[in-house]
């Protein structure tokens, strides 16, 4: 009964998203794409944070790597978006492997500090290597080539066309993350979060699993970055800045940490809230901080967590 509900909700959501793709104005399309891209970023991030219990402050580095990967690929190699996205994901995963190799040797405080420091290293590299990355101007004017699948050629130049590519990757990511959570691998990660000593004694290499979780979440961040670049058609080093790393953290917290739908719900609220707040003020980050503070001090289950608790309490009463 319960799992049926979940499938119905997912199916409804996809239907709504497809409907948005066909009937909406450009602005709504743009917001929906932003939400889906942020969802991919946050779902991947939550494999590390919610699942494995490791708080990273450096995931923007992988997002930016994905974005720069696509940009550089389409400038120098090939404009095929799928090739670019693959390159972006591969680059982000590779970088996550290197950085993760150093970071997973520690947990908690050290881990947070190291990811922040390494993330800022990537930021400073992107800032300094002007010849490759364009320095503080970044790379701009990246065109979206058409997706050619041998005999079939699909144009994604228009936002209404590109939307379906984003939707495809969003659905794919949801499926993948769901599979990961159900798999033995995902269960080991939850075990590490709950008690890493016991997991170690059960004969599982905790460090290796942590590294794997790090790389997987880095790859998702890379995918999000790649799609983000194709959406905005430009990227600057600030995509790798630590304040951008805070986005998936806040999204996961807002939605609810140890839930599957948390990052998605969080992304919807985050993007809409940001859009709303930015109409009144330029200092969105200030409100971002205040919201984060409020969640930590009094609302730790996030939206999904709190709602589930409320539903449970109500169903007990009745």
């Amino acid at each position: 009964m319960k799992s049926n509900w979940k499938y119905i909700i997912v199916a409804l959501m996809l239907l709504v998203l497809i409907g948005i793709g066909y009937f909406s104005s450009r602005f709504v399309l743009y917001l929906a794409m932003k939400i889906m891209i942020l969802s991919i970023f946050a779902m991947g991030y939550n494999i590390l944070f919610g699942r494995t219990g490791l708080l990273s402050f450096g995931h923007a580095a992988f997002y930016a790597t994905g974005a720069y990967g696509v940009a550089l690929c389409s400038m120098h190699v090939h404009t095929h978006p799928l090739v670019g996205i693959m390159v972006g994901i591969a680059a982000a995963a590779f970088l996550a492997l290197i950085i993760g190799f150093f970071c997973v040797r520690h947990t908690e405080i050290y881990f947070a500090m190291l990811t922040l420091a390494f993330g800022m290293m990537v930021f400073s590299l992107m800032w300094n290597l002007r010849d490759i990355t364009g320095g503080d101007d970044g790379l701009s004017g990246i065109m979206r080539g058409s997706v050619s699948l041998g005999f079939l050629k699909i144009s994604i130049t228009k936002d209404s066309q590109f939307y379906f590519l984003v939707l495809f990757f969003f659905a794919l990511s949801m499926l993948l993350v769901h599979r990961i959570y159900q798999s033995p691998f995902g269960l080991v990660l939850a075990g590490i979060r709950e008690n890493h000593v016991r997991t170690e004694f059960a004969g599982l290499g905790v460090k290796r699993y942590r590294l794997a979780a790090f790389v997987v979440s880095g790859a998702f961040a890379g995918l999000a970055g790649a799609l983000g670049l194709l959406l905005e058609s430009n990227v600057t080093p600030f995509a790798a800045h630590w304040s951008h790393s805070a986005n998936p953290v806040l999204v996961s917290l807002m939605g609810g940490l140890q839930t599957f739908s948390g990052p998605i719900v969080g992304s919807i609220v985050f993007v809409l809230l940001r859009e709303f707040i930015e109409r009144f003020t330029h200092n969105w980050m200030l409100w971002f901080g205040v919201i984060l503070l409020a969640i930590i001090l009094g609302f730790r289950g996030g939206i999904v967590g709190s709602t589930t608790q409320l539903v449970k309490r109500l169903s007990k009463v009745s």
Partner: protein, 290 residues
Amino acid sequence: MMESLVHVCLAGISAGMFIWLVASGLTLIFGVLRVLNFAHGSFYMLGAYLCYTCLKFLGIDFWLGVIVGPLAVCVVGYVMERYLLRQVYDLELPYQLLLTFAVVLIADELVKIIWGAGSIGSPTVPGLAGSVQIVGRNFPVYNIFIMVIGPLVALALWALLEKSWWGRIIRAAASDREMAAAIGVRVPSLYTGVFVFGAWLSALGGALAVPYVGLLTTGMGEAVIINAFVVVVIGGLGSLKGAFLGALFIGLLNSFGTRFIPALDMFLTFILMGVVLLWRPQGFFAGVDR
């Protein structure tokens, strides 16, 4: 070449002293409260901006500004510990980190609102404005002053922690919170005190940096906190000796990097950090003096 090397060294040492002032507060707070304060760089920045404001609008002396600015930051530190951090000591660690992170966002943005997002030119210090000749080149007197202040603060901290009654209490609370509480130490007040003191150290660094950096920017806190993180990773979290030597080392490394391989200046630091992590993951001085 020789002169250039000497000057690169001197510049590195004086830059390292600012990192030391921030890293010392960070280390002290971590040692006692077991909280890693991401907002420590923001205290540094606030110290600098408040000191500048004192000079500019109250028209007071620079040295008075160095006293008033950090004291104002102490109030911020007090509010943060008493009303925010105290709520989350019992929670899981990510929440504590995220709380200090939220304070960073709020503080940085408030600074942008109050002082503007642009850079602010800072004044010179009466009495220490000139420069002296060292091996054939000019070197600012103020930087020499900083190179004296840093070790003095280190010495004072050492004396405070190792030789004074207060130091004994702080060390007791750091090594066993329950036991210290049982023998009558008022641990919550002590926590507040140590946090405020740590904030003051960082803000003092910021205030002293006003004439040194030349330009105040909203990114100054973030640059220094990342260096401080690298320092505590290398020196060992919780070790003041490690923080001092680490800060000196990172200052020198940055200085040499900027001089000889400008495109990769920050990169050097991180390579070093990677090497240390592989070789001695707990840092070089962890467990030596505490």
